[in-house]
Amino acid sequence: MIYNWKKIVRFGLPLLTLCIFIEIFAGQMLHLGQKTLIVFPIFLISIPVMNGVGGNIGSILGARLASGLHVGYINLDIKDKEMRENLIIAILMGIITYSILAILIYYIASFGGVQMDIGLIEFISVIIGAGVLLVCVISLVSVFTAFWSFKKGLDPDDIVAPVVTTIGDTLGIMLLFFFIGAVGI
C-alpha cells in the first residue's frame, strides 16, 4: 500500500498550520475593515473573486514554470526568455480577467438588489487597481518560489500553489482596502 492516512496527516499538518496562521492574519484585516464591508457589501462579494483569480493565475504560472524546469526548456536564469514570456502573459491574463469580472460583479450585484452607494467607474477602478497590482506581485512570487524550490531540489509543484494562494489571500485583502481608501470611499 502506498498511502497511509497517518502519513498524510503528518506531512500535511505543519505546512497547513503555517498557512492558517497567515490566513488568520488576513481574517483580522477583514475584521478591521468590517464596517466598510457591511456598508458596501459589494466589496464583500468581491473578496473571494479577488483572491481566487490571483491564486489561480499564480498557480497556473507556477505549474507551467515547474513543467518547464523539469523538462529543461526553462533555465534557472532571471533573464530566461521563456520565463519572461510566461510572466508577461500571466499579468496580461490578470488585467483581462479582473476587468471582465469587475463589470460582471457590479451588474450582478445591482441586479440582485445589493445596496450600492458607489459608481461603476469607482468600483471598477478599485477592483482593477488592486487586482492588477496583486497579479504582478503574485506572478513575481510564483517565479521566485518556483526557481528557489527547484534550485533547492524540491518539487515546485508541491510548493508554489500553497505559497502563492496564502500570500495572495493576505495581499488581496490588503490591496482591496488600500484602493478603497485611495478612491476615497
Binding site: 500500500m1 502506498i2 498511502y3 497511509n4 492516512w5 502519513k7 498524510i8 496527516v9 500535511g12 499538518l13 497547513l16 498550520t17 498557512c19 492558517i20 496562521f21 490566513e23 488568520i24 492574519f25 488576513a26 481574517g27 483580522q28 477583514l30 475584521h31 468590517q34 464591508l37 457591511i38 457589501p41 459589494i42 464583500l44 462579494i45 473578496i47 473571494p48 473573486v49 483572491n51 481566487g52 483569480v53 491564486g55 489561480n56 493565475i57 498557480s59 497556473i60 514570456e85 510566461n86 502573459i89 496580461l92 491574463m93 483581462i96 480577467t97 471582465i100 469580472l101 460582471l104 460583479i105 450582478i108 450585484a109 500553489a161 494562494t165 496564502t166 489571500d169 493576505t170 485583502i173
Partner: protein, 185 residues
C-alpha cells in the same frame, strides 16, 4: 502564437472560476447580519476557505497520481488506497478546524480586545470544516470517477473544478453552520 494558445486555454477557465467566486462572495454578502451578530466569525473565513482549498486540491492531485501509477482504476476505485486518502483528508480537516477556531479566538482578544464566545466560534469552524470536507471529498471522488470513465487526465480537470466548487461549498457550509449554532446555542 504561444501567448495566444495560453490565453485561449486558461482565460475561459479563469473567468469561470471567477464566476464561482461571485457565487461564493454573494453568500458572504447575504451573511452581513450574522457576521455582525457573531464576533470573530469574519476572522475565520479566509482560513476555512484556504484549508478547504489546500486539503481538497492535494487530495485531488494524489488521486490523479494514483490513477497515473495504476493504483486505482475506474472499475475498482473503492479500495484501501482511496480509503486511506479519505481518512487522511478528514482527520486533517478536523485538527486544522480546531486550530483555526482557537487562533481566531485568541487573536481577536489580543488585537481588538473583543471577546467572542469561544465555544460558539470553535463549534462553527469545526462544523463547517467537517461538513465541507465530507461534501468535497465525495465531489472529488465523483469527478475523478467521471474523468476516469471518459479517459481524460484527472490532473487537468480536478484542480480548477475543485477551486470553483470548493469556495461555494465552503461558504454555504460556514453560513449553514453559523445559523445552526446560533439557533442551538
Amino acid at each position: 502564437m504561444y501567448a495566444k494558445k495560453m490565453l485561449k486555454q486558461s482565460l475561459p477557465l479563469l473567468i469561470f472560476c471567477g464566476l464561482g467566486g461571485i457565487v461564493a462572495g454573494s453568500t458572504l454578502g447575504v451573511m452581513t447580519e450574522i457576521i455582525q451578530n457573531i464576533p470573530g466569525l469574519i476572522v475565520v473565513i479566509p482560513a476555512i476557505i484556504a484549508l478547504r482549498g489546500n486539503i481538497s486540491t492535494a487530495f485531488g492531485s494524489r488521486l490523479g497520481s494514483a490513477y497515473h501509477l495504476g493504483i486505482i482504476h475506474s472499475e475498482n476505485m473503492w479500495n484501501d488506497e482511496l480509503k486511506q486518502n479519505i481518512i487522511g483528508s478528514l482527520v486533517l480537516s478536523f485538527f486544522i478546524s480546531i486550530i483555526i477556531g482557537i487562533l481566531a479566538y485568541v487573536t481577536t482578544i489580543l488585537l481588538f480586545d473583543v471577546h467572542p464566545d469561544p465555544f460558539k466560534l470553535i463549534s462553527i469552524v469545526l462544523l463547517a470544516g467537517v461538513i465541507s470536507a465530507i461534501i468535497l471529498t465525495m465531489m472529488t471522488i465523483v469527478i475523478i470517477y467521471i474523468v476516469f470513465k471518459r479517459g481524460y487526465d484527472p490532473d487537468n480537470i480536478t484542480g480548477p473544478a475543485l477551486a470553483t466548487f470548493g469556495d461555494i461549498v465552503t461558504m454555504f457550509s460556514i453560513f449553514g453552520s453559523a445559523i445552526l449554532v446560533e439557533v442551538i446555542i
